[in-house]
């Protein structure tokens, strides 16, 4: 089979993971009895997509719809550790699994996906091992391997050919809980059998889903197999490699989108008559602009996180040119743009994505914007309004032209004022941006007054808010908290207080460089620690 032979060689050149050695298989087999599962995280939609693309290639198409991800403690990453699979969700995973497997064995896909001819001896076994170890992020156990071979045999007994046999065996890997969930296991430490540690495979997965939002690659799995992830030097070499990889950017994009709750863009609906500019294309571009800005600032330039709130440069495309009322040369691409120093926008908060996301379908909302800012960038919670509160505006208030005047009501009633003074004065500085983030100076004919306040600091306008945030100590502290919770899928960090403190210090020492923070977390003991409630004694 010269053709297939060539394919196999090119797979090696591409760094595609080939079946792990037989020794690895048996060592896993031997230790499986001592292992315990300490965590199960359901792959998020983006993790599923990335993992499939990294394992099978980007040409694979996914048919089916994903079960919505579940948000807890402000993060989908946290929700992934508590959610499961509903019957309709499984139905969709099954459709996707069969769709992927079909493409892998289809005539036009064989050369790309298969390293041998399924009609040949042991080929089905080999392909199962090859893809199985990538999908399960560890070598398959003997039982798991045999089970898939049995699927293939049964399919042939039912009249299927060799390709169908392989197809269903692959599909059975793709709907397994071992693929749909990131299953984290601990084992006894060899030198101290009464202590537990994460298995090397679990360490590898944790690392790669944190930094790449995807499955470990061949090199990382090989490092896990060699035991490198247990040594300082070995671990640092891998973390360094992952941080330098082009896959870091799509990986961190998932974190930024999770932190900013961009998934809620799907629920966002704006009135077409009031905001004709807000189309699906514009909504998409708004998110992209923010993700590109964060990527540029935090990853490419490794600039201070604090300065993200005063940054005047942001990429622009033609769709957004309409929203920002700025000229855009290129018709279909992103181009750099920098707002003038005396302009009215600066920093992340003046971007249309955040301004649209927290506003109503037909109006802005100082309260929702203030709340979002407190929750997202300061990690603060504000209790919901009492259930029986009467929100009705008196006629006198309802007729007032600007939000500032209408919101005066919140200050007049003490039950409202207690919380609203934490939100409204922040949001009022952003009032020159309407419900989709377009600049305006008047509301209902009246001039908009953008004065406001943040934690005792008086603010003149949106740019002053950006400046205040960039100098606020709560802002970098909140990023560290959010990123560590994201990395650990932890609802809170009660058990990681000391680690959190030292990360905060390190982040500050580094000049608030995001890449340094990623390094600190990915090489910390905390990141690989056995969950508190699941210690060594079982």
């Amino acid at each position: 089979m010269p053709v297939l032979h060539r394919v196999k060689r090119s797979l090696i050149l591409l760094g595609v993971c080939l079946p792990l050695s037989q020794t690895a298989l048996s060592s896993v087999e031997a230790s499986a009895d001592n292992q315990r599962v300490v965590g199960m995280k359901r792959l998020t939609e983006s993790q599923y997509r990335n993992s499939v693309a990294d394992i099978f290639g980007h040409s694979i198409e996914l048919y089916g719809r994903f079960e919505p991800d579940y948000r807890q403690a402000r993060l989908l990453a946290v929700g992934s550790a508590v959610t499961s699979v509903s019957p309709s969700g499984y139905e969709q995973y099954d459709i996707m699994a069969r769709g992927i497997a079909k493409q892998v064995v289809a005539e036009e896909g064989r050369e790309q996906f298969l390293s041998c001819d399924p009609l040949a001896d042991a080929c089905i076994d080999e392909v199962i091992q090859h893809y199985g170890s990538q999908l399960f992020r560890r070598p398959l156990s003997r039982a798991e391997q045999d089970q898939r071979v049995a699927v293939a045999e049964e399919v042939m007994a039912k009249g299927g050919d060799h390709y169908q046999a392989l197809e269903y065996a692959l599909a059975s890997l793709l709907v397994s809980p071992e693929f749909l969930f990131r299953v984290e296991r601990v084992e006894p430490v060899p030198e101290h059998p009464d202590e537990a540690r994460l298995t090397a495979w679990s360490r590898a997965s944790r690392l790669s889903y944190f930094l790449w939002n995807s499955t470990p690659d061949a090199e990382l799995l090989a490092a896990a197999e060699r035991g490198d992830l247990y040594t300082r030097q070995g671990l640092e070499a891998q973390v360094h490699r992952l941080l330098e990889s082009p896959r870091l950017e799509p990986g961190m994009r998932a974190f930024f989108a999770d932190m900013l709750r961009f998934d809620t863009f799907d629920e966002l609906s704006k009135d077409a008559a009031l905001y004709p500019v807000f189309t699906a294309e514009v909504a998409e571009a708004m998110q992209e602009q923010t993700l590109l800005t964060m990527n540029e600032h935090l990853l490419q330039e490794n600039a201070s996180y604090r300065e993200l709130f005063t940054r005047r440069a942001m990429p622009m495309n033609r769709a957004l040119g309409m929203v920002y009322a700025v000229p855009v040369q290129s018709s279909d691409d992103w181009e750099p743009y920098e707002f003038a120093e005396e302009g009215n926008r600066a920093g992340l908060l003046s971007q249309a994505s955040l301004l649209s996301l927290r506003a109503h379908a037909g109006s802005s909302s100082p309260t929702l914007r203030g709340l979002y800012l407190r929750e997202t960038f300061l990690c603060q919670t504000i209790p919901p309004p009492p259930a029986d509160v009467d929100f009705t505006l008196d006629e006198a208030f309802a007729k007032l032209p600007t939000a500032r005047e209408r919101l005066l009501r919140h200050r007049k009633e003490s039950t409202c004022a207690a919380c609203h003074h934490l939100m409204d004065p922040i949001g009022l500085t952003l009032e020159q941006f309407d419900g989709v983030g377009m600049f305006r100076t008047r509301e209902n004919g009246a001039l908009i007054d953008t004065r406001g306040e943040l934690d005792g600091r008086q603010l003149g306008d949106a740019k002053a808010l950006g400046q205040a945030l960039s100098e606020h100590d709560g802002v970098p502290a909140c990023l560290v908290d959010t990123l560590l919770r994201y990395a650990l899928s932890a609802p809170d960090l009660r058990h990681q207080r000391r680690a959190l403190d030292s990360l905060q210090q390190a982040f500050s020492d580094s000049g608030y460089r995001f890449r340094d923070l990623l390094w600190q977390i990915a090489t910390s003991e905390t990141f690989y620690a056995v969950p508190e409630s699941q210690g060594a004694s079982s």
Partner: protein, 446 residues
């Protein structure tokens, strides 16, 4: 650790190569409904259960009828349901009892109604919702245990849940719903000739491998994650039952008419668009039920804290309920009320659609029990007392309709208990704390 022995797989192995045959399968429980009645022609028609949800409640003075019993008079906000008044019962005055727990706005009402338990935190479902409990009893013999649709365009607008985080996501696109039900895998019960698809049996092999993965995983698992793996396994078992059903020759169903494939449509929150999509989704749902693809259906017209809006308006339904002043001359919030009336209009259309499918001597609606509900009474104050509830359909002659029943502050769990018993769920008490009840609404039972 392969389990060998007499499985359906071994029975069927070799028999099928795509030829038209009738296989003598062992009778399985899954082919019987909760009452042991079969689907065969002439036998009782299947019993169905559905929910229909709209957000932000109503205006109590304009929605609740006065007179009790069969002689209730239509009220302004129920006017759109005039033609259905003999087919539905109005339940007023039933409460979610918070028992000192916080009123989780726009959540306590719906969670309390569907689980009989007031949530401690928003969207906390400590037990499966009513429809899931009923589907576990009557839905195991159909291809889909339940189907969910949301006219408001977001798959997350679904109150069908096995737990807080396990949500039966809603279909929002008529085309996607069509493809799921009538696309690949659909067997026309009236096709005449039955050809079991050999691919279905190959899929059974996949499931047996997955079940063993789960078994191994279970042995290594701490108690915390067991429940989650159980939920996964429940889903796998349902997939398995689905395959069993699809391998069985379907009974001919006179009521089953195949729809044409719909066009892709835009989704959104503008009220006219929502109403149009609701109609398209409901028509497909009615045929899915008539073709016995499911016996449990859940419809969300608008979510709790309804985000529906009128074109060109700066405030949506939810905002209006809080911000709009009560018109002193009218005595209510006219803009917010518009959405209540539109919701009732849509529910009327939904009942029309169920009625438009002839079944047996009557219509599909005659063999359904539909619970229409919302998360508040007056949304302005997030009131979870006096929730608006309606029961429509005759549940195959078991449900007495056309009445107004006053709850007088009784827990809403009485309604949930009644519906479960009506559908054959073996339950005598339901609900928690002061919502725990063993008192069914005998007034609606025949």
């Amino acid at each position: 650790m392969k389990v060998k022995g007499l499985t359906r797989r071994t029975l069927l192995r070799g028999v099928l190569q795509g030829s038209a045959i009738s296989v003598g399968l062992p009778i399985l429980d899954v082919f019987l409904n909760g009452n042991g009645t079969a689907l065969a022609s002439g036998a009782p028609l299947p019993l169905r259960f559905g929910t229909w949800f709209w957000g932000c409640g109503m205006t109590p003075e304009r929605w609740n009828p006065q007179a009790e019993g069969a002689k209730w008079a239509l009220t302004p906000e129920l006017a759109a349901l005039e033609r259905h008044r003999r087919e539905l019962s109005i339940l007023s005055g039933f409460n979610v009892h918070l028992d000192g727990r916080p009123n989780q706005v726009h959540s306590s009402g719906v969670v309390g109604t569907l689980t009989g338990n007031a949530p401690m935190v928003p969207d906390e479902y400590v037990t499966p919702t009513l429809d899931v409990l009923i589907a576990d009893a009557i839905g195991t013999g159909t291809r889909f245990r339940s189907l969910e649709i949301a006219a408001s365009g977001d798959p997350r607008h679904s109150y069908s849940r096995r737990s807080s985080s396990v949500v039966n996501a809603a279909e929002v696109s008529p085309l996607a719903l069509y493809q799921r039900v009538f696309g690949e895998g659909f067997q026309d019960p009236n096709a005449g000739e039955f050809r079991p698809d050999p691919a279905l049996m190959m899929r059974q092999s996949v499931l047996s491998a997955v079940k063993e993965d789960r078994q191994r995983l279970m042995q290594q698992l701490g108690s915390g994650d067991r429940a989650r793996l159980d939920q996964y396994f429940t889903a796998v078992r349902q997939a398995e039952q689905q395959l069993d059903i699809m391998l069985q020759e379907p009974e001919p169903l006179a009521a089953c008419v195949l729809p044409d494939q719909p066009q892709e449509v835009a989704t959104g929150t503008e009220i006219d668009q929502v109403a149009r999509n609701h109609t398209l989704l409901a028509q497909l749902m009615a045929l899915a039920v008539a073709c016995d693809q499911t016996r449990v259906f859940n419809v969300v017209f608008s979510p709790g804290a309804s985000n529906l809006r009128r074109a060109g308006s700066s405030a949506n339904h939810h905002q209006l309920t809080h911000e709009e002043s009560v018109d002193p001359a009218l005595g209510y919030q006219p803009e917010a009320t518009y959405f209540v009336e539109r919701s009732m209009l849509a529910f009327g259309e939904f009942l029309d659609i169920l009625k438009s499918v002839p079944e047996g001597d009557g219509t599909l609606l005659d063999n359904c029990a539909v619970l229409a509900h919302s998360e508040t009474s007056l949304a302005k104050t997030h009131d979870v007392s006096g929730l608006p509830l309606m029961l429509a359909g005759r549940a195959g002659g078991r449900l007495r309709s056309g009445q107004h029943i006053k709850g007088r502050g009784d827990p809403v769990s009485r309604v949930g208990l009644t519906l479960q018993q009506l559908m054959g769920v073996p339950v005598s008490r339901w609900g928690t704390r002061s919502m725990e009840t063993d008192r069914a609404l005998t007034e609606v039972l025949v």
